[in-house]
Symmetry: C2
Subunit: 221 residues, 2 copies
């Protein structure tokens, strides 16, 4: 009787995928700065150096994490009208980036895009091209949409509050610090706008996205 090729072992075999998933989980929980090779090793039950059997170095690890995150973003559906598709993608991207705040400075700027990243960009380009956008307009559209989405996420990222109550409380303390009349417009917007009940910075996203989509529709003729 031949031996099974992969007999069940006490410890689950470590794979690149398992390493990447654990790294994302760690970064989600404590931010990028808490993600070290030693801690990651501990999380998967291995010494730090063993991780190098699955990733080339920390840069490669980050590349893989980013590709994993790109894989979470909704792609345009086959027959979907471009405007709906771009809106869904934008909302999905924002949701994904809020789950993985550490990824925000990374996704646009990794030098080695993975397969999920390439598939994502190809799908977005394809959606616009099939909707009749010229090559030039497609490039413009992707640039302005991505700039807006990433930029908004970047600003949202480190607002040091999550609930409207916290927002209002902070705005109040800021406004109080400006009581001397320097920065009158900052004081005004803090007291009369941000401190309004129900204010949420996230709601600003819709305004800008509609503005951009309207502009593109206009340009597409």
């Amino acid at each position: 009787m031949t031996r099974r090729t992969t007999p069940p072992q006490p410890r689950e075999a470590l794979t690149r995928q398992r390493v990447l998933l654990a790294a994302v989980r760690l970064a989600d929980a404590g931010g990028l700065e808490t993600l070290s090779m030693r801690r990651l090793g501990e999380a998967v039950g291995v010494e730090a150096m063993s991780l190098y059997n699955h990733v080339a170095n920390k840069e490669d690890l980050l590349d893989g994490m980013v590709d994993l995150v790109f894989g979470e973003v909704d792609l345009p559906a086959p027959g979907e009208p471009w405007r709906e598709a771009m809106r869904r993608r934008a909302d999905s991207m924002r949701l994904v980036l809020s789950r993985h705040r550490w990824a925000i400075g990374l996704m646009e700027s990794r030098a080695n895009p993975g397969p999920a990243t390439l598939r994502h960009h190809d799908a977005v380009l394809g959606c616009l091209r099939r909707a009749g956008f010229s090559l030039t307009l497609t490039a413009h559209a992707v640039s302005v949409l991505d700039s807006y989405i990433y930029g908004f996420a970047l600003q949202e990222k480190t607002l040091p509050f999550d609930t409207p109550e916290e927002t209002a409380a902070l705005a109040e303390s800021i406004a109080a610090g400006f009581a001397d009349g320097q920065y009158p417009y900052l004081a005004e917007i803090a007291t009369a706008h941000v401190m309004r009940p129900g204010y949420s910075y996230g709601d600003e996203f819709t305004f800008g996205l509609d503005l951009v989509l309207d502009g593109l529709q206009q340009a597409a003729g």
Copy 2:
């Protein structure tokens, strides 16, 4: 005869300002990751620990650097029409961010804004308010403009090439890697658009900025 209060000493007195300027110079030259307290000390002729007489810690150092950079950005001129002012500010910001690429992920997200930062934001808000923008529209406008500007800078930051020739060369090698027909739209835009002579990603900035400004003008009625 009384002694001069500050006799000329062999070494120039170290000040917070001198430390910050040196730090910015270091980061400009080699990126944020080359900026360490030891190297910064060396640059100003002092041991690392002596820097802590002028900055509270590295976070405080970064805060100060960001405020210095904000101080380089053009403010709206007193009587300037809002659209011109916002365009000038956007262009100026982009220029400043290209001088200080390391600042891009930092400017929007520091928790402790300095005086130049506050003055900048107050001036932008004031320009729009005086142009008749409602409080709500002003908040929308600032959000969409800043998102676009920072997002664009973020994407531009790590394009691994600076000249059109390099761009075209890279696009070509990428397109060659896609010869198998995966990612057809990426291949198309790389070969037929990016590789066109004279292409420069920076030129995309104008399109999106005009689109956003047009949309705001519309909304302002």
